[in-house]
């Protein structure tokens, strides 16, 4: 029997949990249809996480694209269908992607499998990111450098730890509610690989504790900067991302397995840690950097 997984009308890092809650009832080899027909908004996290969802299924899932023609065009422009067609049976016809040069998509969905892909991401986004972060987010040049570094390190986590490829996407938004109309740039990096707990379990650097679980593993890696590698220089990527996000009043959230932690700025009302979420392979990271406040 085929299960239908309904994508919420607004798909972001928080509402993606509704997708995973539905999916949890069905084993990986069960046939599922991911129904996005009524989805009217999808964040970079939502789009990249939908791709990784398909990677977690041993039975290739079907996908129903959004009904709304504008949304369909946006998803195509973001590069979603280019990769969805590799991992889903996409139902119906979807538009061919057009140039993103005039859009707010800073970086359309881009696969990250190997080290060269990280170079490609950095090359493609560097100039445009500088322009957007300086002109629209009014950040100083050092912030734009940090942004590209954070993006590079987030992508490298896939190459170094995931054990399989993932995707990255970057977009600029106007946050009407939470940021009072200010813009923000959002990076989403999602993979369906090992995840933090399994990655650390392969190392003697894993803390010995009875409380060991996905949440503890996330705190160990993201907050304490512990890497599975013994090299004392390791673990600085996530530490650097954390420092960058904090410096520029941004938000960082990382989900892995059944837990999610977040560095929450004053403008957001998320919680720092969630446990006992529906299981999902790999690691899903989101970085949000807001426009500099006028005050």
């Amino acid at each position: 029997m085929t299960a239908v997984i309904t994508v919420p009308s607004s798909l972001d890092d928080l509402s993606f949990e509704l997708v995973l809650d539905q999916l949890a009832a069905h084993p990986a080899d069960a046939k599922v249809i991911v129904d996005a027909r009524h989805c009217t908004f999808a964040s970079p996290y939502g789009l990249t996480a939908l791709l990784t969802l398909a990677q977690t299924r041993s039975e290739r899932p079907a996908f129903l694209p959004p009904d709304d023609a504008d949304k369909l065009t946006y998803w195509a422009r973001a590069g979603f269908f280019r990769y969805a067609e590799e991992v889903y049976d996409v139902q119906g016809s979807v538009p061919r992607p057009r140039s993103t040069s005039e859009s707010d998509v800073l970086l359309e969905i881009t696969p990250v499998v190997k080290s060269d892909d990280v170079h490609t991401v950095v090359e493609r986004i560097k100039d445009k990111a500088t322009q957007i972060l300086t002109n629209r987010l009014h950040l100083i040049s050092r912030a734009t450098m940090g942004f590209t570094m954070a993006l590079s390190e987030a992508c490298q986590n896939i190459v170094e730890h995931a054990g399989r490829g993932g995707w990255v996407m970057v977009q600029v938004y106007q946050y009407r509610k939470r940021l009072g109309g200010r813009h923000a740039v959002v990076i989403a990096v999602c993979d369906a690989g090992l995840g933090f707990r399994r990655s650390l379990e392969s190392s003697p650097r894993r803390p010995l504790t009875d409380r060991w679980d996905d949440g503890f593993a996330l705190e160990t890696a993201v907050v304490n900067g512990v890497s599975r590698y013994g090299d004392p220089g390791r673990g600085q990527g996530l530490k650097g991302i954390r420092g960058y996000v904090h410096r520029w009043d941004g938000k960082l959230s990382v989900r892995s397995g059944t837990a999610r932690i977040a560095l929450v700025p004053p403008w957001d009302d998320d919680v720092p840690r969630r446990d006992n979420l529906a299981p999902f392979a790999g690691a899903q990271l989101q970085i949000t950097i807001p426009e500099k406040s006028a005050a």
């Binding site: 170079h119 050092r142 450098m145």
Partner: protein
């Protein structure tokens, strides 16, 4: 003094067609090439690493190219006697400062206008004495103690530490900046 263009190392020696120092594997490849060049130097040589033709640098690359190079130099007490960094910009500094602090390391950056800056993990005493030496060129301990309003007995161990960390050099009885002809 040996001048090493890191951009050229990246594109030619390491044979990687990039302008930026990103990813740990890229950093490791560049570091190995630089180490090979440094191994041919004499013990009292000073090498200059020039980052002018490098776009940006991330934390992983800074750890491989800068921190591991300095750690290896400190561990082996090997060649060259000092490393000086040129062409460092804001595009590199954020990552470099972070990894230096992480490992308790420091380095000297020379700018095109002749100014120099001590970057990384240094104490206030080390910074004050280093700045005095760099501003004047050479110093004997007693003069440095007087000018820094410190006792000679307190100044000497700080200077020795700066020598050990290759942030100053000894020139006869005086202490002198690295990378600057006396």
């Amino acid at each position: 003094m040996r001048h090493i263009d890191v951009g050229s190392v990246l594109r030619h020696s390491a044979n990687l067609p990039y302008a930026d120092l990103v990813t740990r594997s890229t950093g490791a490849a560049v570091r190995r090439c630089i180490e090979a060049e440094l191994s041919s130097l004499a013990h009292d040589d000073v090498a200059t690493l020039d980052f002018t033709h490098i776009g940006m640098m991330d934390y992983s690359c800074a750890d491989e190219v800068v921190a591991k190079l300095l750690l290896d130099l400190a561990r082996r007490g090997g060649r060259p006697s000092s490393l000086v960094f040129h062409g460092i910009t804001d595009a590199h500094l954020e990552a470099i400062e972070d990894v230096l602090l992480h490992h308790g390391l420091a380095l000297v950056v020379h700018f095109a206008d002749g100014a120099a800056r001590l970057v990384g993990a240094v104490s206030e005493d080390e910074r004050v004495l280093w700045q005095l030496v760099h501003a004047r060129g050479t110093y004997i301990v007693d003069d440095l103690a007087r000018d820094s309003a410190r006792n000679s007995a307190d100044v000497l161990p700080v200077l020795e530490a700066l020598l050990d960390r290759r942030l100053l050099r000894r020139d006869g009885f005086t202490f002198a900046p690295i990378g600057v002809a006396s």
